[in-house]
Symmetry: C2
Subunit: 277 residues, 2 copies
């Protein structure tokens, strides 16, 4: 059967295949400059890094390799956040401890070198991020590898870096909280019915309905993030049509990318636990 | 950038992402028991075999490994024919001779052991094939590995096996004809405009319009195969709508699988020659 790295690659492919996921690129929706084919190429390119993670490379290095591979397509950032979720999960799975405790152990074991590699990954792709907090300019992730000296001076591990972003970045929040939302969403996938891509769409909507998306917050502002969550709730209770909402959000460029990252993580966990495709 | 095996995997993913490809599973069309997600999992599983081909394993062995990996999903045969096209093309590309002459050299170099591995691949998946010709029962591919002794007694190489099927199997025809249609279709892809998946859809229609699909011939009969070709011609001249035709063919279970295999081969060649995604 598929090994750990292959399940992670498949999770990336199934995530973008699930439709509708309002505002995301999915099988039926794309943006002119960020298309379905870019996600296919991103998933192909990411495998080497995922395999390094499965084979015991440090999380930072494996992530950087995955991002470099992902970036070999012309759409730009396709799966940065998803890979930031998957890399520690793959490490935990490869150690036969794919649970909250296992991921906490992976996160706690990260080093300053992992943080440096995390920053280096930003050299390969433009990622939409918030302005850094007051006094943190030297650690703006957009500095990429230029921030390495500062990381070393301040002796910041990748876990430290994630802690500092956890209040405004949904992926970082998972890193510090034992991937709780990802594990919960994986049980929704396992308990769902029908094709896996339909389950992925449903899980995406539940996650979005549960909490405002951090990526929308960054790119479109708080009001848009709250609206996205309210309208996902409306879809779940049948007051709105998911396909209509998807068309509208693509039109308005409201792309709940963090929720997609969580969905990819949940798919990986579910596949590792035996979800059949 | 992507290596040869990765381009082959990406070709599989882009092929099924191209839409509409009337009658095929594609991004917007699927069958209840053969779904888009099965093709994603098939492409993930096939990579190991494609990598073996790129690394110099014998074509038969690499193909068998690719099919075994592809089969780890519940949809059944997703990419058997596409992988039968891609394996020798990957070998030719890995030898820096991805052209008609290079593929002929790969095909001519196949051995009896390659033929045995080809038959063994049928153990992993049910493939819709014609009844064998008179007197060829012992070499019915559906016998799978049970045919190995006969292959050895008759000293048949994989090239010999393909020659015997070339008149009724479009993939085998490419094997014996230097992959001429695949290379031609690759130039159509390269010269096309717009997203790669749109080009793939167009190339599929041109290939189908050019020649009746052997897989439709086998499963639905000659009249259906001729109709499919005529209606693809009608789409190309604007007399029919491709999306309507796609819906109708899925409904009637007319699936031009050989044409999809050719499209995957053409995508691989075009990617190797620098087609940007």
């Amino acid at each position: 059967m598929r090994d750990v790295a292959e399940n992670a690659q498949l999770a990336l492919l199934l995530e973008v295949s699930g439709t509708p996921k309002p505002g995301n690129v999915d099988r039926h929706h794309e943006y002119d400059d960020l298309r379905f084919e870019h996600f296919m190429a991103g998933a192909v390119g990411a495998l080497d890094g995922l395999r390094e993670a499965a084979d015991g490379a440090s999380v930072g290095r494996a992530f950087r390799v995955a991002i470099e591979g992902m970036s070999h397509q012309s759409g730009g950032n396709t799966q940065f956040g998803a890979l930031l979720m998957l890399t520690p999960l793959v490490r935990a799975a490869a150690s036969d401890q794919l649970d909250s405790e296992g991921t906490r152990a992976v996160v706690e074991a990260t080093t300053v070198e992992d943080a440096c590699d995390f920053y280096r990954a930003f050299d390969h792709v433009d990622v939409a991020v918030d302005e850094p907090p007051e006094g943190m300019d030297a650690l703006d992730v957009r500095r990429g590898s230029d921030a390495v000296d500062t990381l070393r001076e301040r002796e910041l591990t990748l876990s430290d870096v994630m802690e500092r972003s956890a209040d405004r970045d949904g992926v970082a929040a998972e890193w510090v909280n034992g991937f709780d939302r990802s594990f919960e969403a994986a049980t929704w996938l396992a308990n769902g019915a029908g094709p896996v891509t339909d389950r992925a769409s449903r899980v995406f909507l539940r996650l979005l309905a549960e909490e405002p998306d951090a990526f929308v917050m960054t790119r479109n502002g708080e009001a848009a993030a709250e609206e996205a969550t309210e309208r996902a709730q409306a879809v779940l209770v049948g007051r709105e049509d998911a396909d209509d909402l998807a068309a509208e959000f693509v039109e308005r460029d409201i792309n709940p990318g963090t929720t997609a990252d969580l969905t990819a993580a949940a798919l990986f966990i579910a596949l590792e636990r035996g979800l059949e495709v």
